[in-house]
Symmetry: C2
DNA sequence: AGACTGTTGGAACGATCGTTACAAGATGTG
DNA sequence: CACATCTTGTAACGATCGTTCCAACAGTCT
């Protein structure tokens, strides 16, 4: 029955993240979390703390999973700011196309439910979004965009990222999503 | 105490809509709805039916409130597709800037919580989004866009609409939102 | 006035919410 | 083997969930 942990903590966290991702914070009940992770209530609370703490760890896990993908896409020399945008959004499209993860984006779902999150959750969501924005802006400047242009384009690319997540949740086809991403990659700030 | 209805049904529905808008379907509890509308439980159920029915009526009320604004913005002769996009997004920006309504957009919040809605709610959200898309496409063609261009641009404008709602929920400034809208209005499909 | 219709507030239902407590069992250390 | 430590499943907690029921009351009609 017990003694040493009988499950993989990291794998359990990954599954809990999927539950929050799919259902959102408020509809991710403890029952759904126990079912999704395969853990009992005792193990869940003993390992991760309460629901709010588990949510925050899921957010961390989300960042730790996908931030490297964005970073890798953004580094590498890019011929133009448009190429940066395209590379960034391609990571998003790939994630959405992944059938092993829920639709949309945990960060976007959480942002939409902002008023229902506690202060720590709100701060974390906001910080993660700001981090992506800063990362984008830096990459855009490195690709030759002016400071103001980079700032605006980073914001718009982030916005497109969010919109892809929403449309995906609503059941739009991957063709439609690709169309949106392609249009966003056409640099609306000609130099 | 009672006899004839002691409240304005339409005003109550407007307030219920705000509760769903702010909190999302699942966090819009009956207690919050009674508090937000000022009605008792009996009056709520007697007038609007159960929570799912009230949600659908709130969606209808939302469409009935804002669809005319979008229609008015989209009709009027526009010199170019870009002008159509700008006019459409301006309606969204105005709604978001309205301090008397919650942040974001009821439709976007509901779309993000798609998996938590029942079949009727999902269908209605989807139909409303498709309606906006068709309305946009028609206006864009009327403004001189080719059929394919109009379809793609309608989709992208809808996407921008959603992104504005998400960013607004996350607390982005109205300056940032205006930047996103302005960039989207720069027609990414030059003819 | 008296019967009827309809509305209202509040009590109460079973179900589920997040959380805690705890006994039973498995492991590691002497 | 005995003991301490940790994990696990389950029972149970109070609170809140959506919903129903109902008695008390106001208005309308004969």
């Amino acid at each position: 029955m017990a003694g040493r942990k009988q499950f993989d903590v990291d794998e359990a966290l990954r599954r809990a993240m999927h539950v929050f991702w799919r259902w959102g914070y408020s509809e991710a009940s403890i029952d759904r979390l126990t079912e999704g992770t395969g853990l009992g209530r005792g193990s869940l609370y003993g390992t991760f703390g309460d629901k709010s703490a588990l949510f925050r760890k899921s957010l961390q896990r989300y960042a730790q999973t996908y931030q490297p993908l964005y970073e890798r896409a953004l580094t590498g020399p890019h011929p133009s700011p448009s190429a940066v945008v395209a590379a960034y959004l391609q990571v998003t499209l790939n994630r959405i196309a992944d059938p092993t993860v829920p639709d949309g984006c945990l960060l976007t779902v959480s942002a939409t439910q902002f008023p229902t999150l506690d202060a720590e959750g709100q701060a974390m969501v906001r910080a993660m979004i700001d981090g992506l924005r800063a990362m984008l802006q830096q990459a855009l400047q490195a690709a030759g965009a002016g400071e103001q242009e980079a700032a605006a384009l980073a914001l718009c690319t982030l916005a497109t990222n969010k919109s892809l997540a929403v449309l995906s949740r609503a059941g739009f086809s991957s063709d439609d999503l690709a169309t949106v991403a392609a249009a966003a990659a056409r640099n609306p700030f000609p130099s």
